[in-house]
Amino acid sequence: MTVITHPRRKSNLAAMIDSAGGVSVGVALAQARANVEGLRARAMTVVDAAIEALEATPAPTSLPETPARLDQVYSAATSLIDAAGPFELFDLCRAAAGLCDLIGATDPEQPFDWRIVIVHARSLRLLQALPPESVEERARILASLNEVIERKLAQTG
């Protein structure tokens, strides 16, 4: 196969990053964290809406309906990860990512066990309500979700 190599030119970004002025990395990160922290309340609203969307998505009543319903669930789960990630709500992210892993690996033309969506929605609600110090309860919830996902992933091959 023919390979054409374009020697890399120094990008504008490379030239400007070391130019005079700017801020220290410590200050840049502190500013970024403060900016993001200002969005926490809105992020929690987005997380709540995403869980509501999971709870409200009805199971498909026919096989042709399955891909659209799975897309709805996938979209809700990824919007939850988008919003929860910057605030280090890793338990919520992991639970949502597990659901995405399964949907991503599933043939949308095949029936999907909708109990998995229901269990994830309930678990996300529980994780959201548990205080941060409930480490063991959180770990148990995630472990059982993980077990479900692994079993189903094994079935999808």
């Binding site: 990008s11 400007m16 070391d18 970024a32 993001v36 200002g38 990860i81 995405c100």
Partner: protein, 192 residues
């Protein structure tokens, strides 16, 4: 901060204030989260787009220094946008550093993620520190661009050394869980 490399020690000074940056994400809230992080770094995003089509129109007309794109978007997704850009013949935009972000990548799309020509893909959840590390990394990225078959983008082969930074947090969590499971299932006689 322990994950930061030497180039990103707290006292290091970076100047990104002049970087003409475009952020593309179909989620207005995710777009704002990314923009707020960038503004903390001193980057004021010049172009924020809610869809790839709008981004394409701007990229045809104006040069950018950094592109941050969400992978999963309705219509033209992030992978298609980056593949189009690399093949567009737009100079210098076709060679611009591109960071892609993803809440999740579906298994059948992993190959697309690898082959679209992005400089780096980061999966969520990621911190502001990770985003800044990647921006500095792509700024200093010295890989040549290759045209191989359908691929046009930075050389995907990393020639020397370990990955440029530590693994992302989610990988570390999974690795720890895996090691714990292994330890639990290991026969007692095998332990030291």
């Amino acid at each position: 901060m322990s994950a930061l490399g030497e180039a990103l020690r707290k006292s290091a000074v970076i100047n990104l204030s002049g970087a003409v940056t475009m952020v593309v994400d179909d989620s207005p809230f995710a777009l704002e989260l990314t923009s707020q992080s960038l503004m903390g770094f001193g980057i004021r995003p010049r172009h924020t787009c809610l869809d790839a089509a709008e981004a394409m129109e701007i990229l045809k007309e104006q040069n950018v220094d950094l592109l941050v794109v969400d992978c999963d978007m309705p219509g033209i997704d992030g992978f298609e946008l980056v593949r189009w850009l690399r093949r567009s013949g737009l100079d210098p935009n076709a060679f611009v550093p591109v960071i892609m972000t993803a809440a999740h990548i579906r298994r059948p799309r992993v190959a697309e993620a690898r082959d679209c020509g992005a400089s780096f893909i980061i999966t969520k959840p990621f911190s502001s520190a990770t985003l800044l590390e990647r921006i500095v990394w792509v700024a200093r990225d010295s890989r040549p661009f290759l045209e191989v078959g359908d691929y046009f983008g930075p050389d995907r082969r990393f020639r020397t050394g370990p990955p440029p930074q530590e693994e992302r947090r989610a990988d570390l969590i999974r690795k720890k869980e895996f090691e714990e499971r292994q330890a639990e299932t290991a026969p007692a006689g095998e332990s030291d």
